[in-house]
């Protein structure tokens, strides 16, 4: 039915199957939309946030999707600025994932604020000294960059590409993509960092507060670093999950391994910095405010915020995946690689969790207790919404756009491509799009 829209030379599932799939995921999404409407109509009393937990699940989700969406800027940086040419085979997907993550982040911010109709005040009455202002500006601008990066891919849909103007536009945008990628890297550096600055500058909250350089606390740099390390891991993770879902290899191993290796070394660097930061904070910063390390981790109900968090974050989800990813053997072992990127992603999620929730949970006044929080179903539904939205976006893009340039080569549907052709150097053209020779049929 929709075969005219499907890229040439690739096989896709039957339309009815696709519609059912979108229907099921769409139902989950509608559940989230319903919860958003409740929040909009009735207000934030629909959440389980309170005056102790002004930030909760949503802000965590926000920080996390932005960190994981960091794969887009960092892969773009590596591909266009550093010149890692192999990464052109995964850059489309990295951009798509980034686009989903950032649009989700903006969506979440749209209902997280108490007065959504005034959300534009953050731009209009900007307080340039606030980390959140910097986040809002850079985030919105960078989302613009992601739209610009995603647009050429969308224009490469078989039917849209037939329109000469769109065809030329897509080509021209590819030509100067490095300029956009550089702008994206600049903006990302600042908003990822500013998100780290959000807890880092709170000198009234000893768990989050860090010293730093000039106006930037150390968490500023740690957040940027962890996004650059964890983001590509998320790109790899989603690529691997997509490959499992469609039962096809979509990206060649050498591309994945290159990205994994770079992520691994980034993660090593991040872990060294994180350990130094944690040590300095535990040994000097916190004691100067009258806290020991264990004051932040002990005596809380159910050990929800126990020391296990720190061990999990730095050890299991930090050092371990870093070690796997920097070894050739680890990257070549499919299970080890999958485990490593999964752990690295979990590590980033956990880091954002503590830097949002634990900061607020730790009692600062000596006569107050640990604050407790469990999200309401409305909060959960609205947080699952971006996941469902992401799955739909990926499904649509995968079906109708040439997201994976290597898919046809890896999954020939007609006569297999000859070995000699495979040995040929890659053509010097932008990543996605039609091969010089038209394929006989779509599916």
């Amino acid at each position: 039915m929709d075969s005219a829209l499907i890229p040439e030379g690739v096989k896709r599932c039957p339309t009815w199957q696709f519609i059912i799939w979108i229907g099921v995921v769409g139902a989950v999404m509608m559940w989230g939309v319903f919860a958003i409407l409740l929040v909009y109509i009735k207000g934030l009393n629909q959440t389980n946030m309170n005056n102790a937990y002004g930030f909760a699940l949503w802000i965590w989700a926000d920080l996390t999707v932005i960190a994981l969406g960091g794969g887009a800027f960092f892969t773009g940086f590596l591909r266009y600025i550093i010149g890692k040419d192999e990464l052109k085979h995964i850059i489309n997907y990295a951009v798509l994932i980034g686009f989903i993550c950032y649009s989700s982040a903006l969506l979440i911010l749209g209902f997280d604020v108490g007065q959504p109709l005034r959300a534009w005040f953050i731009f209009w009455h900007a307080n340039v000294h606030s980390m959140l202002t910097e986040v809002a500006f850079c985030l919105t601008c960078y989302f613009g960059v992601l739209c610009i990066e995603y647009l050429p891919l969308a224009l490469e849909n078989r039917q849209i590409d037939k329109v000469p103007f769109f065809h030329h536009l897509s080509h021209n945008m590819h030509e100067i993509m490095a300029v956009f990628a550089a702008t994206g890297a600049f903006l990302s550096f600042f908003h990822q960092g500013s998100l780290g600055g959000v807890p880092g500058v709170m000198f009234g909250r000893p768990f989050g507060f860090r010293e730093g350089v000039l106006i930037w606390p150390w968490t500023f740099f740690l957040f940027t670093w962890s996004a650059a390390a964890g983001g590509p891991c998320f790109t790899i993770l989603i690529t691997k999950i997509t490959e499992k879902a469609v039962r096809k290899k979509l990206v060649k191993d050498n591309v994945i391994e290159l990205l994994a290796k770079i992520s691994g070394w980034m993660l090593v660097g991040y872990m060294v910095a994180k350990i130094i930061d944690t040590w300095y904070w535990a040994a000097f910063t916190a004691p100067s405010k009258g806290f020991t390390l264990m004051d932040f981790y002990a005596n809380n109900p159910g050990s929800v915020y126990g020391i296990w968090i720190l061990i999990a974050e730095i050890g299991v989800c930090g050092v371990l995946p870093a070690l796997i990813l920097i070894t050739d053997k680890g990257r070549k072992n499919r299970i080890a690689l999958f485990l490593a990127v999964l752990l690295a992603v979990l590590g980033v999620c956990l880091n954002r969790w503590v830097m949002v929730l634990q900061v607020l949970a730790v009692p600062v006044l000596t006569f107050e207790n640990w604050a407790q929080y469990l999200p309401s179903w409305q909060e959960i539904a609205t947080t699952i919404l971006p996941v469902a939205y992401g799955i739909i976006m990926i499904s649509l893009s995968y079906r109708y756009l040439p997201v994976f340039p290597q898919e046809r080569e890896l999954n020939p549907i007609e006569a297999p491509v000859s070995q000699t052709q495979e040995q040929l150097p890659e053509p010097e053209t932008p990543p996605a799009g039609a091969e010089p020779e038209p394929s006989p049929s779509g599916s």
């Binding site: 005056n51 102790a52 108490g114 007065q115 005034r118 307080n127 009258g290 006569f367």
Partner: protein, 267 residues
């Protein structure tokens, strides 16, 4: 920057006198049109600009001691007006006034991001989770000098700044430039039956608050009176609410200390 004749309004609360009766809370609610709900059991969802804490020395009977601690907004000055909440507000909806030392909140500017709540270690900033509704007829008793707040914004103690404005207007009408100490007093100060709360200008040596705590200007406003302390002094919030207590354990409860730090730290 702070001008030469600028004021620094502050409060001194004598915990030896406070009985924990809650009059200050009630007066504050009435004065500032603070909304309430039928069910106020969850105090983390309530709005109370002035909140009275009950402290205990955690010792078994008969050594058990208690102390009540009223906590308004501490109107932190931080370092050069960078109080924890003011610098983080993305929309400039809260401001540190160098002329009065009061941390203001512009309700119609606030869009409810709650970053200031996260930044404030004293939990003085509270969110309007619900629309403010008053029982039928009660809206007639609202204070016309204080705007009511809408759902979805943060609010906090203002040191009854509307009273300062009224006092200044009065003085202007009478051809005076300065107001007297007793012309501007907060609602909680006047309501306290034990006289535990004193309010005034910490920059003015003639004012009672100054004489009670003797703030050391060169030392970040730290009190020279050994009985006086501020909450969470070590965080560098540079608060303008001082507490007096003759009991060591109460003074020590005002801040966090490592076990290795001696009792004499806050003598």
């Amino acid at each position: 920057m702070e001008k030469e004749n600028s004021k620094k309004f502050g409060m001194v609360i004598d915990l030896d006198k406070c009985t924990g009766c809650g009059s200050c809370m009630v007066a504050c609610m009435a004065e500032n049109n603070i909304p309430f709900r039928e069910d106020e059991t969850d105090k983390l969802l309530s709005v109370s600009w002035m909140h009275v804490y009950r402290l205990t020395n955690v010792k078994p009977f008969p050594d058990t001691e208690e102390c009540y601690l009223p906590r308004p907004c501490q109107h932190c000055e931080g370092h050069h007006g960078h109080s924890p909440c003011v610098s983080v507000c993305p929309a400039t909806a809260t401001d540190y006034d160098m002329d009065t030392g009061i941390v203001s909140q512009i309700y119609t500017r606030c869009f409810g991001c709650r970053y200031c709540m996260a930044a404030c270690p004293y939990h003085v900033r509270q969110f309007n989770w619900w629309d403010p509704l008053w029982p039928d007829g009660m809206e007639k008793s609202l204070n016309p000098n204080v705007s009511v707040r809408m759902r979805g914004v943060v609010e906090k103690c203002s040191f009854c700044i509307h009273r300062y404005q009224l006092a200044k207007d009065q003085a202007y009408m009478e051809g005076r430039r300065e107001i007297e100490e007793d012309e501007y007093q907060t609602a909680c100060t006047q309501a306290c039956p034990a006289g535990a709360i004193t309010f005034g200008d910490l920059n003015n040596p003639k004012h009672a608050v100054y004489q009670m705590v003797k703030p050391d200007k060169k030392n970040g406003g730290k009190p020279k009176n050994p009985k006086a302390f501020r909450l969470l002094e070590r965080l560098g919030t540079n608060a303008k609410v001082y507490y007096l207590s003759s009991r060591e354990w109460v003074r020590r409860a005002g801040d966090n200390y490592l076990k290795t730090e001696g009792q004499a730290k806050h003598a």
